[in-house]
Every structure is written in C-alpha cells, then in structure tokens.
C-alpha cells in the first residue's frame, strides 16, 4: 500500500514545535496585550492545529481531494460563525 512514511525526525520535530507553542500561548496569555490577546491565542491554536493536520494526519502527503475536504470543514465552520455574527455584531 502506497502510504507516505514520514521519518521519525519529522514527528519529533513537530512534537517539539507543538510543545513550544503551548508554552508560548500560556506565556502570551499573561502579557497585557489588550485586544490582541485573543487573536494571538487563536492564531497560535490555528498554527498548532495546522501542524497536526499536515504532519501527524499526513494531510500534506494526501490527495487533493483530502485537502479539499479539510478546507471544506473549516470553510463551513467560518460560515456558521461569520454569518451568525452579521446578526450579533450589528
């Protein structure tokens, strides 16, 4: 079966980055950035999630279809959140 086999090093590296990002997100949370705290926290979370999806879940090496599906999920999540906000933010 022709699945992509990542070298162990990749996994360990990703793991390291994820751990560092976790520390960063905790650290940043205690810094008074005002309105920027929330976007930074979400930004880090999105980065972490992307790493997991790309490398641990092999999306990087998967078919275009798989990538499309991943995109679809977040696209429709954005619709759910975004269009509801047209009501609540105005």
């Amino acid at each position: 079966m022709a699945g992509h086999i990542s070298p162990k090093g990749t996994y360990y590296a990703i793991f390291g980055i994820l751990m560092v990002l976790t520390l960063v997100t905790v650290y940043v949370a205690y810094q008074p950035l005002g309105a920027a705290n929330f976007p930074v926290a979400i930004g880090i979370a999105i980065t972490k999630a992307t790493l997991v999806i790309l490398f641990f879940m092999h999306a990087k090496y998967s078919s275009r279809l798989t990538k499309l599906f991943v995109g679809t999920a977040f696209f429709f999540l954005a619709i759910l959140l975004g269009l509801s906000l047209t009501d609540y933010m105005s």
């Binding site: 279809l65 619709i79 759910l80 269009l83 509801s84 047209t86 009501d87 609540y88 105005s90």
Partner: protein, 538 residues
Amino acid sequence: MDTTVTAPRVTYLNHEHTLASWLLTKDHKRIGILYMIVVTFAFFLGGIFASLIRLELTTPAGDLLSADTYNKMFTMHGVAMVFFVLIPAVPAILGNFVLPLMLGAKDVAFPKLNLISWYLFTIGFLFTVYALVAGGVDTGWTFYTPYSSRASNTNVMATGLGVFITGFSSILTGLNFMVTIHRMRAPGLTWFRLPLFVWAVYSTALVMILGTPVIAITVLALAIERFLHFGIFDAALGGDPVLFQHMFWFYSHPAVYIMILPPMGAISEVIAAFSRKSIFGYAFVAFSSLAIAIFGFLVWAHHMFVSGISVYSALVFSFLTYAVAIPSAVKTFNWAATMYRGAIWLKAPMIWAIGFLGLFLVGGLTGLFTAALGVDVHLHDTYFVVAHFHYIMVGGAIMGYFAGLHFWWPKITGRMYSDIWAKVAAIIVFTGFNLTFGPQFIVGYLGMPRRYYAYPEEFQVLNVLSSAGASILGLGYTLIAIYLVASLFKGERVGANPWHATGLEWTTQSPPLPHNFEKQPVVTEDAYEYTKREIKVV
C-alpha cells in the same frame, strides 16, 4: 411489454428468505427496502396527524381536539414528515437502491455502516413513536427555546433523542454515499458521465455531512438545558433564546435542500428517460445541484426576519436567499427545455414528474414572497408559509419521490403496476393537493397565523376547502398504496429495461442479482445518449 418475460432465477429478493437475511443484510438494495417500510409507516402516521389537523380546522371553534392535543398533532406531524419521511425518502430509499447500480458498483462503500444507519434511523423513529405513545410532544417541529427548554412539559427529551439518533443515521448515509461516488465508479464512468441523480445525491450527502452535526449539537444542548438545567439559551441568565434559532436553522434550512435535491435528481432521470433525449444543459443541471447545496448554507436566517435579528443581518440573508433561488430556476428551465423536440412517452412516471414541475414552481416562487423582507414581516408564521412549504415539500418533494418510485418500481420488484391507475392517482393527488394548499395562501395573506387550533370565523370557508382537498389527497395516496401492493402479486413481469432507458441500472436484470451485475460494467458514453445508439429492447 408484448412478450411475456420469465422471472430471473436468482435475484436479490429470493436468494435468501429468512427474516435474519433481511434484518442483517448488507445488500444496499434490501436496505433500501427496509427504509421504504419504515418511511411508509411514518408517512401514514404523519398523514393521520394531518387528517386530524384538517378535521379540527373545519370549524373555527376548537371542538374536536383539545388545544394541547392539537399542538401535539402538528408537532408530531412536522417531526414525522420532516425527519422520518422526507429527509430519508429519496436518498435513503431510492438512493440506496439505485446509486450503486448507477455507478456499476457491487455495493456502497461501507455496507455494514449502511445497515447500522438503518438501525439508527429505526431506533430514532422508535424513540419518537415512544414519545408519541407516552403523551406526545408539543413544541412544534422547530423546538424553539425557551418554550422547549423551560415551558413545555411534554416528551421533548425523547423526541429530541429520536432526532439526534436519526441525525447520525443521516450523517453516516451521507458519508457512505459520498465515498461511494468518489471511489466506486465503474471503469469509464467519469464525473461528467454520471446520471444527474448521482450529482443530486452527492450534493445532498454534502449537506448531510456539513449540516446535520449542527442540529445534533443543538438538540443535545437543548436536552442538557432541559434536563440538567444548564443555561445556554436561558434569558434569565443573560443567554439568548434566539441563538437557538440560528443554530437550528443553520441545519434546517439546508435540510430543506436535503429534501428537494434528491427528488430533483429523480426528476432529471424521469424527464430524460421519457423525453428520450439527453438532458438540456447537463453541466448546468449538475452544478446547480452543488450550488444549491453550498449556497443553501448561507440563507438560514430568512426564517428569522421578525425574530429580532438585526436589520443589517436581515438584508444580507434576504439577498443571499434570492441568490440561491437562481440555481433552482436554472434547473426548472432546463427540465422544460429538455422536453423540447423530445419523443415524449407519457407513462405514469412522466405524469408524476410533470405534476412535480407544476407544484414545485408554485412552492419555489412563493418562497420569493417570504424571502422579500417587507412582505415576510406580514407573512411570517401565517398560513402563507404553511402553503409555501407544503407546495414545495408535498407537491414538490413527495411528488418527485413518487415519480422516482414509479420509475424504478419495476427495477425494484421486477413487476409493473397498472399504468392507468397510476395516472389516475397522480391526477387525484394533484387536484386534491391544490385544493388543500391553494386556499392557504389566501387565508395566510388574510392573516391567519399557523399553529392555531381555533380561528376567527371569517377564515372558515377557506379552511373547509382545504380540509376537503385533504381528503381527496388522502384518497389519492391510499390509491397508490393499493395498486403498488397489488402489482407485487399481479403485476406483469418486466425485463431488464421496461422503459428503454439509459443508465447502468437498466442493464442488469429486474430485480437485480444479489451482487448487481453479472460482470463488471464498463462505460463508454455519456449519460442519456438516447439518440446515439439503438436502445436494446429486452
């Protein structure tokens, strides 16, 4: 069908006989029939509720039922018809049966999961029936908070659980179909050679996968709010009851496209087959299905124009609602154009399809009224809305289901029903239907609110007309049941392709083999190539 056809020796129906061979079957065709049994039952149940509703409404005073009973009637009617009839009707019955056949596959991608889906569906239905037997539920099919979470003392939990479980059946079916379409197509069956029914089912599956989880979590949150007194929608804590409506309609609007897209697909098949022509604008019809599925997620708050959403939001949603009407318009015009210079064979399925066109038109076009902000303020929650959605769901989707059922019935059973009776039934249903729901547009514009069990006297005439129509309608549906059942015993046996139609499902025997095809079919031409080749008469 001049020649007598002998029955095939081995079919999916007769190769095993035990009850277990049905209840444990992984054959998509048998599962389709299992769905048909439960859905038909739910339809008659919902129909009985509808009859009681209409009976009560013949007089302005609330005299036949008590107010609470009436409220339970329309709730159970809506729940049964939406979640247990229309959402599964075409995809789970006809889709299950013909999709793998159309693809030239031996089965769906995950046959076991398919069976599990049916069990989930049935268990969900049983929960709902339990809720009914244990005293009913009275929230309306929309379960709006805070009535559902705080005020109602009926079986909201059991019904919610039923909807939740059925939701998973829907998700798994959608997933199964989508993978099947991606991975199980016969050699040569490229995307643009697919029958349009497949495109419709694919789009439906997309909506099922993306929308259903949101209703699941919404119902779950509602149940927890009700049962454990959590407070997500609770105004007393500062929560927003309207949030529930956003979450509910995020699913339930796209869900109306779950209900209409597959019948639209069936209509494409029927119209092409009985016009003996390729579909006019194949690509447009195919992509309009996808467009409806995707844009369908952008319009949900058109159910909430007077629910206290912001004016700005209302504008956005009204505009998007008009945008999503366009692909439906494209489909309608393409169907009509397909008939141009066709060789139109007016058999029963085609009559049903033409009925669909007429009623769907009225239903869809009246959606343009409710989408119009200034008018919807008046129309919202009146009988106009009731008429709109019955035209589209009963006149459109149910008619479309019957068109498809009449089309594939000989494939499913190997027998032909009485063409004359089928046409008579179509005409009775069409007439009764218009009599039932036509007057509701008027009484709605006059201001009669929905979910009223007693109403001012001036509305009586129109309501009596409506009730009279409903009895004709009921008669029509009963007639269908009679001649279809009769055909099982007395119907003429048919060969592989009684309609001389294109499509892989017509190349295998009727009823098909347990594993569908004798040998792997290979596709070398586009869908609906009636004009290019000799049609094999079997």
